[in-house]
Amino acid sequence: MELTLAIAIGVLTGSGVWLILRPRTYQLVIGLSLLSYAVNLFIFSMGRLRVGAAPVLGADGMGNPAGYADPVPQALVLTAIVIGFATTALLLVVLLVSRGMTGSDHVDGRESG
């Protein structure tokens, strides 16, 4: 399980990095989305992987910390997911405006010579 997730994070990172090095704006958008999955999973995995131990306390509100998954990385990732959406939107709009102004969807606003 750990190895699977580690390899998955690696593959997502690799695909993302490959795409952000590409010249088309759309590739950049997809690449950054893949990278943000990878980073979110990476931060999440720093709390170690637990199955069936969601950090939601029982009715009495008491809980042994050892019995639950680490809530801190989860809290970090939760806001990161929403902010990630916002930055994706911002990037997309900047690229669209750039495309509107320059007529090209190359990341530099013009085809490389």
Binding site: M1, E2, L5, A6, I7, A8, G10, V11, L12, T13, S15, V17, W18, L19, L21, R22, R24, Y26, Q27, I30, S33, N40, S45, G47, R48, R50, V51, P55, V56, L57, G58, G61, M62, N64, P65, Y68, P71, V72, Q74, A75, L78, T79, I81, V82, I83, G84, F85, A86, T87, T88, A89, L92, V93, L96, V97, R99, G100, G103, S104, V107
Partner: protein, 965 residues
């Protein structure tokens, strides 16, 4: 220690400046009254403090600021500061009166008084600071506001250049001053002025004395326009004349000599002090007077004369003798009086005759006899004619110049330089009077000159009368005040001095006579030549500002371009490559350096189903990377699949909150990118990158970087995941979540309670991003090839048009008819779902973020189902209001706990039984979460709708066009 009047003196001008901004644009009279009343109030406050300082004590107001750094907001007024504050407020008030008549109706007067008042406050701050760091801050503020004042007529190139030059020179000096002050603070161990003033011996004997002295003098000499930094002052004459009268006679340039006098007991008396200041002062004295003679611009003449007179003061301060310091302080006051009046008179001449060019002005006396008389008296004071205040301080200067202070050639030539400088001052003063007021009037003036209004002339009259009174009966007028000022600087070293006009036949008197006669003779001999000369011989060509401009161009243009050429690129890909490479190196180097071995890894668990899931996820990710260039929609679908796998991972690995959030965000992201696709150019396989081995090499290099990054991430995350976790803060949150946060969903409690402040910051960012997206799209212009309707719509439309029984647009309307009905029916369901997610968030998976995105998705579904126009005809969503309400709600929840005496965002909770709903946790954190929800809804909807609206913009424009016809 508290003493509010002194605090008010500084605060009032700034507050009045702010008030001036809030007045209506056309409130010319009100704003003048405001400025006048403020300066007058400061003046009255200063006067009221005289009894406190006249005894030799100082008034102190201290507010703790950053005590750990020895930084206090200390205001301190002693005799010297008092007389300077009096000067600033008094002349400030006269300038307000004058400016009322000088500034024309077209000038934006509020801006003028805003800058003027802020400058006055800053200058008073410099004068009244009791802490050296605070003094430097106010010092820099004067630089900033003088920049704004000089550049007031910013449509004028000369004003912009002059303002920039002034700011560059004085702000660089201010930075040097800060460094110098820091060294002094290091030596003394305190920045408090009283402590520093008592540590003169320690400072002078310290190894760092010379660097500190050099840095401080760099600050003061640049500010006071002393050689070799004098060239900014003549260029600053592009300022409106009230500004010149205020800044370049009484305040800004006086700040430099003020600080030198302030620190005189601490820094003076060493050979370094004597040599540097002696040379700078003497050079400024002679050079300024010499160049002043050749000026054709009236204000230029006054500017060079100011340099010369400030040189005189600097020279006096350099001598290190208490008597010279007395003369320096006295001359600061005298110079401010006659120079301010002359600047204002210059403005009157300019105003009335339409020009300031000495070659074009002549014979004005018959048109404006009163102004003429005033200028003559003020110029005589400037030249040092007996019975005027300038004469007194010049006498004292001569007396000091002939004394021997140090065994140096500078000291030897000082008396000759003094006489020479004074003689030249006589020459330019005569020239000023003669060219403007005497002689035959020219054929025509740009304007028919006449006397100005009484109140415009009043400030000049007042100051000239002051020159006269001080000049005739100094002991009875300025005497006691000067004594208070001088003894507050010199303390026990205050010498015996006499302010009498007549000291008998002495050497200084003889020197005065020589200077007066010499200057007059020089004018007789060379007056005509001066009138015709284009520039000063010998020194006219070496122009400081040319050198300055060349240096500026070299640094800010040529060198900057050079550095850009070498290190910069306008292309994104090399930058991204560098970034990725740097990130890989930053992770790899410390790992290898600290020797992370693979043997430390523990064993993970195995789960074939999980491996299968990610097998799909990874294939989708790789395929998305492969397809993103030509098959955008496919890539988007594949990206979404990867996102779903991520979402399922969260479910699997005990993170229900993340899974829910990821799921709804996945939906809106897909919609978002879908909306964007329409504006991208068509991409067919025909468009292929230039092939060849270079391109292949590039791709191999990029692939290597990508593989390295991926492998590194795999290694690091595997290494961490298989280790036993260290003791973390998780335990704290688990234990306190219910007992102190009142919630059982620990992740949500962390977000809205423990780390509520972070969340507040994050939703603020979210709001800002949404508004940025909105603002960017307001000016969006699509590329020419994207303006046409999309191909699919064109096909549908032509089909409709070909069929006689179909209306245009019917196919598009019928498209996905059943799903769209279902989507419309789903709207209330989605709202209930969002409310459910929001309310249960504190105790079970859910919360403001996921509920907000879900709600936004509900809105978007309506747009997709029925079209933008249909939805907006029926539903008014005001996303900006949602954002604002959310942010306010979240911030107010935090503030409420402040009011109850707890720290920001402390939460309260209890359970309440609601009818039908049941037991509901009522924590204040829930209100905060409601704010989060509202903001997330607003931000998400705003961004999506802003993009969606682009498609119907053309449509709407066409419809408006139709309605108009």
């Amino acid at each position: 220690m508290e003493h509010y009047p002194i605090l008010l003196i500084i605060a009032l001008p700034f507050l009045a400046g702010l008030a001036a901004v809030l007045l209506p644009t056309d409130s010319r009279t009100t704003v003048t009254w405001l400025a006048g009343a403020t300066t007058l109030a400061c003046l009255a406050l200063t006067l009221s403090l005289y009894p406190s300082v006249s005894s030799g004590d100082s008034v102190i107001h201290r507010i703790q600021w950053v005590p750990a750094l020895g930084l206090d907001f200390t205001l301190r007024m002693d005799g010297f500061a008092w007389i300077f504050a009096l000067l600033v407020c008094g002349i400030g008030f006269l300038v307000v009166v004058y400016a009322r008549y000088y500034m024309s109706a077209e000038d934006p007067i509020r801006r003028f008084y805003l800058f003027f008042l802020a400058f006055t406050g800053s200058m008073l701050g410099v004068v009244l600071s009791g802490n050296l760091i605070l003094l430097v801050i106010f010092w820099e503020l004067t630089s900033i506001f003088s920049f704004l004042l000089i550049g007031y007529w910013h449509h004028n190139q000369a004003a912009r250049d002059g303002a920039r030059m002034t700011f560059t020179i004085t702000a660089i000096g201010g930075l040097a001053l800060l460094a110098g002050v820091l060294i002094v603070g290091h030596i003394v161990g305190s920045y408090d002025l009283d402590v520093v003033l008592a540590s003169g011996d320690a400072i002078r004997s310290h190894d760092l004395y010379v660097p500190a002295l050099l840095l401080i003098l760099l600050g003061t000499l640049t500010k006071s326009a002393q050689f070799p930094f004098h060239f900014w002052l003549p260029n600053a004459m592009a300022a409106p004349t009230p500004v010149s009268a205020f800044l370049h006679s009484a305040t800004m340039v006086k700040a430099g000599v003020f600080l030198m006098a302030r620190l005189w007991p601490v820094l003076s008396g060493t050979p370094e002090w004597f040599t540097i200041l002696g040379l700078a002062g003497m050079a400024s004295l002679v050079l300024g007077a010499y160049l002043a003679m050749f000026q054709q611009d009236l204000k230029g003449l006054l500017a060079y004369s100011t340099i010369s007179h400030l040189g005189l003061i600097t020279l006096l301060l350099s001598l290190g003798s208490p008597l010279a310091a007395v003369a320096a302080i006295f001359h600061m006051l005298n110079h401010a009086t006659f120079k301010a009046s002359l600047f204002m008179a210059a403005g009157i001449v300019d105003h009335e005759a339409g020009t300031r060019d000495l070659r074009r002005l002549s014979g004005l006396f018959r048109y404006m006899p009163i102004t003429g008389t005033l200028v003559m008296v003020a110029s005589a004071a400037m030249a040092g004619v007996p019975l005027l205040n300038g004469f007194l301080s010049k006498e004292m200067f001569f007396a000091e110049a002939v004394e021997t202070h140090a065994d140096s050639w500078v000291d030897t030539i000082a008396p000759y330089a003094a006489v020479l400088g004074s003689a030249l001052a006589v020459t330019y003063s005569i020239r000023l009077i003669h060219s403007i007021f005497l002689g035959a009037p020219p054929e025509s003036f740009p304007r028919e000159p006449h006397e100005p209004p009484f109140w415009m002339r009043f400030p000049v009259t007042f100051l000239v009368v002051a020159c006269l009174i001080v000049g005739i009966i100094p002991g009875m007028t300025i005497g006691p005040f000067l004594h208070v000022a001088v003894s507050s600087v010199l303390g026990d070293a205050t010498p015996e001095y006499s302010l009498a006009v007549w000291h008998g036949f002495t050497l200084p008197l003889a020197m005065s006579a020589v200077a007066l006669a010499g200057g007059a003779l020089l004018y007789l001999a060379a007056g005509d030549y001066l009138e015709r000369s284009e520039s000063a011989p010998l020194l006219g060509r070496i122009q400081g500002y040319r050198i300055f401009e060349q240096v500026t161009v070299a640094v800010s243009w040529r060198w900057a371009r050079l550095v850009e050429d070498i290190f910069g690129t306008r292309r994104l890909q090399p930058q991204m490559r560098l970034l990725a490479g740097a990130a890989i190196a930053a992770a790899a180097i410390p790992l290898f350096a600290s020797g992370v071995g693979f043997e430390a890894y523990g064993n993970g668990t195995t789960d074939l189903a999980f491996a299968g899931l990610w097998g799909i996820g990874m294939i989708c990710a790789l395929a998305a990377a492969h397809q993103a260039k030509f098959h955008r929609l496919a890539a988007l679908v594949l990206l979404g699949a990867t996102g779903l796998v991520t979402c399922m991972t969260f479910v699997w690995l005990s993170a229900p909150d993340l899974a829910a959030t990821q799921l709804v965000v996945e939906i809106v992201t897909t919609v978002l990118i879908l909306l964007g696709l329409r504006w991208l150019p068509k991409r067919t396989s025909a468009l292929v990158e230039p092939g060849g081995w270079m391109a292949r090499l590039r791709r191999i290099r990029d692939l290597t970087i990508a593989v390295a990054a991926g492998a590194g991430m795999t290694a690091i995350s595997y290494a961490v995941m298989t280790r036993t976790p260290p003791e973390s803060i998780a335990g704290f949150f688990m234990e306190k979540a219910y007992s102190e946060g009142g919630g059982r969903n620990v992740v949500n409690v962390i977000l809205v309670d423990f780390r509520g402040f972070d969340t507040l910051g994050e939703i603020t960012v979210l709001g800002i991003v949404a508004l940025t997206v909105f603002a960017l799209l307001r000016r969006f212009r699509p590329a020419p090839d994207s303006i046409e309707r999309p191909e699919q719509q064109q096909v549908q439309r032509s089909y409709d048009e070909a069929e006689p029984d179909r209306e245009a647009g019917a196919t598009a309307a019928e498209y996905l008819f059943v799903p769209s009905v279902i989507m419309q029916w789903m709207f209330p369901v989605v709202i209930v779902l969002a409310a459910y997610l929001l309310l249960r968030g504190h105790d079970a998976p859910g919360g403001g973020f996921v509920a907000g995105v879900a709600m936004a998705a509900g809105f978007i579904l309506q747009y997709m189902a029925a079209g933008t126009v249909w939805v907006e005809d029926r539903l008014r969503i005001l996303p900006v209001v949602w954002i604002g309400v959310g942010l306010l709600l979240a911030a107010l929840t935090g503030t409420a706990s402040l009011l109850l005496g707890d720290s920001f965002l402390t939460s309260y909770f209890r359970y309440a039984d609601l009818p039908l709903v049941g037991k509901v946790p009522l924590a204040s954190a829930t209100v905060f979460d409601l704010g989060v929800f509202s903001l997330v809804v607003g931000a998400t909807v705003l961004m999506l709708i802003a993009i969606a609206h682009q498609s119907i913009r053309r449509l709407r424009a066409a419809r408006l066009e139709e309605e108009r016809q």
